[in-house]
């Protein structure tokens, strides 16, 4: 592998890892704070991608689609938390698995009813459709760099919100001890709703951003879901920064795995996870 292709694969790894972080961060927050295992989280990614497709076809631009899509996803998340997930907090994991598994079926069939089962493409916004020349023969698409940049901005924003704001303080406290937070007079149910809606919106945004690259297709959420599980396992449940590091590890392992070990491409990520399980079964970044 020469330097230019190494550079391209590195950029691809970063972009893929950062995108996965958007999905996994919401998943790990919902795990950590509410103690809920949400199999339907991958569906939010799928819904985001289809929103991007539908809205971009309607408005003619992916920008508009994303601007409209984010509030829609937030509202959808809040509604879903109110109608379904708020009933799950005191149930055991098995019932959570069951309900969210049922939700996947519902979402996929609704998607099939409303949009159909065809594969769709989404156009890259014109101003990002070019590419940057890395060498005389190798170019790198601008849009992928834009995705990475957006994800980095979001990660920084998430850091700021969680570490530096009052809301973030409440979220961290909720992660630690629900009863204590309630005793201090904080409306924990509201915190839950906000966190859940945020998680849905992040996953949906990841789907929207990815839609021009990966195209939009049925069941696109399930692969992302399982990879996000792997990320959460590697990073440690509830740890957003663990999720960031783990997402990057997974991004690099998957991208370079495909180049260096094409026969094992699907498996590299899981092998990394197996290694982490042997080494630190609670995840790399889980604090005692």
């Amino acid at each position: 592998m020469d330097f230019a292709s190494f550079l391209i694969q590195t950029l691809n790894s970063l972009q893929y890892g950062l995108l996965l972080f958007l999905v996994a961060s919401g998943l790990t927050l919902v795990f950590g704070i509410m103690g809920i295992i949400n199999l339907a989280h991958g569906s939010f990614y799928m819904i985001g991608a289809y929103l991007a497709f539908v809205l971009a076809s309607a408005t003619g631009s992916l920008f508009m689609a994303i601007l409209l899509g984010i509030p829609l996803a937030l509202i959808f998340g809040a509604l879903l938390e109110w109608a379904l997930f708020s009933h799950l907090y005191k149930r055991d994991h098995l019932e959570q698995v069951l309900l969210t598994y049922g939700l996947i079926l519902v979402f996929e069939e609704l998607r099939s009813l409303l949009v159909g089962d065809e594969v769709h493409g989404v156009d890259i916004p014109a101003m990002f459709s070019g590419s940057i020349a890395l060498t005389e023969v190798l170019n790198y698409p601008v849009y992928r760099l834009v995705i990475s940049a957006v994800c980095i901005v979001l990660a920084v924003a998430l850091y700021f919100v969680i570490q530096r704001t009052r809301l973030g303080m409440m979220i961290r406290a909720g992660n630690h001890d629900r009863t204590m937070v309630e005793a201090l007079g904080i409306n924990i149910n509201m915190i839950y709703r906000v966190v859940f809606a945020l998680g849905v919106a992040l996953a949906a945004l990841a789907g929207m951003l990815a839609s021009p690259i990966s195209s939009v297709f049925p069941n696109m959420g399930s692969h992302v879901l399982i990879i996000s599980f792997v990320i959460v396992v590697i990073g440690g449940i509830g740890s957003v920064w663990g999720a960031l590091a783990a997402a990057l590890i997974v991004g690099f392992a998957d991208t370079f795995g495909k180049v260096l070990l094409p026969e094992l491409s699907g498996m590299v990520v899981y092998l990394v996870m197996a290694g982490v399980l042997l080494w630190r079964p609670e995840g790399i970044f889980k604090k005692g």
Binding site: H93, V97, F107, F229, V233
Partner: protein
């Protein structure tokens, strides 16, 4: 006790009569359901009795199914007496190896990690030459039951195959029932209710759980073997997480920790699938809706319904 035994015998008698009707469609559907019932019982050993919620049980089902297809020569029959133990043993072995990893985790982690390992197994059969890609492999000739020139039954014959599956179901049921009555089974149930206490009593719970995981994997392998023989082909879909989700659904539908319940769950699941599929192409929507509603409004599964009815009759409608 005797009434229960009588009911079980009556159920077996009814099941045994199905091929006599000559309805080959229903015989095949029932054969499939009985295979899934074995699969569901094997998972119930983990979920219902040991308290290990595995979301990747399809892996061991699929490994055995692929083992049959790969161990059978292309144009002649393999021996049932070689292929069955080999494929079941392979499933158990894979489960033991995976168990060494996944049993280091608990709770939500365990659910996610079992799912991830099943996905790893999915990719092994999907991507490598072991599996034949997403199209899968055909099992051209079903294994032969011949022993030294004598052929006790013929798996190519639908009726024989059906009775063979029914016999396997009864055998697995009796075997699991026996296991659960044994000291080993008592330890598993103890682990489910309080693992720390079992540890403090000196039981090496990790090894007990590993044994249960391997055993459940092997029994899932029995189901996978039968599935491959019934349908004559295997695809990576057998290891997909939908398959793991569906079998978990069967166990929960029947009420966990109840072998008869697991069988009933397989029947209800297949029944719902068949009925909904006749209503609409989008039957999964109804299925998903039913699941969501069941979790919200019916904690405890189908097995809790008789108790609820009894309570509401006795208590004049009031709870407790």
């Amino acid at each position: 006790m005797n009434a229960q035994l009588f009911l079980k015998l009556a159920a077996v008698a009814i099941l045994a009569c199905v091929p006599l009707t000559g309805e080959s469609f229903y015989t095949e559907l029932l054969a499939k359901t009985l295979v899934l019932a074995i699969f569901a019982m094997s998972l119930d050993l983990l979920v219902g009795f040991t308290g290990l919620v595995s979301f990747g049980h399809a892996a061991y089902f699929g490994v055995a199914a692929y083992a049959v297809a790969q161990l059978s020569p292309k144009y002649e029959a393999a021996s049932l007496w070689v292929v069955l133990p080999a494929s079941v043993g392979l499933s158990a072995l894979v489960a033991l190896v995976v168990g060494l990893f996944v049993l280091r985790t608990k709770g939500i982690y365990f659910i996610m990690v079992t799912l991830a390992f099943a996905q790893l197994a999915f990719f092994v059969f999907h991507d490598t030459p072991l599996g034949g890609g997403s199209d899968g492999i055909y099992l051209n000739v079903k294994p032969s039951a011949e022993i030294a020139g004598w052929v006790p039954f013929d798996l190519d014959n639908q009726t024989h195959l059906y009775y063979f599956i029914l016999a396997m179901l009864i055998a697995v049921y009796a075997f699991l029932g026996r296991i659960l009555q044994s000291p080993f089974g008592r330890v598993l149930v103890g682990i489910k209710s309080n693992e720390h206490r079992m540890q403090s009593m000196g039981y090496p719970t990790f090894w007990y759980k590993l044994a249960a995981f391997g055993l459940a994997g092997g029994l899932a392998g029995v189901a996978g073997f039968l599935y491959a023989v019934v349908f004559g082909f295997v695809t990576p879909e057998l290891l997909s997480w939908h398959q793991s989700g569906n079998v978990l659904l069967m166990v929960i539908l029947g009420g966990m920790g109840n072998l008869v319940g697991a069988i009933a769950g397989a029947f209800v699941f297949t029944g719902m699938q068949e009925v909904f599929a006749t209503w609409s192409k989008h039957w999964q929507l109804i299925m998903g809706g039913v699941i969501v509603a069941a979790v919200l409004f019916l904690p405890g599964g189908l097995a809790a319904i008789p108790g609820r009815i009894k309570r509401s009759l006795q208590g004049g409608g009031s709870n407790e």
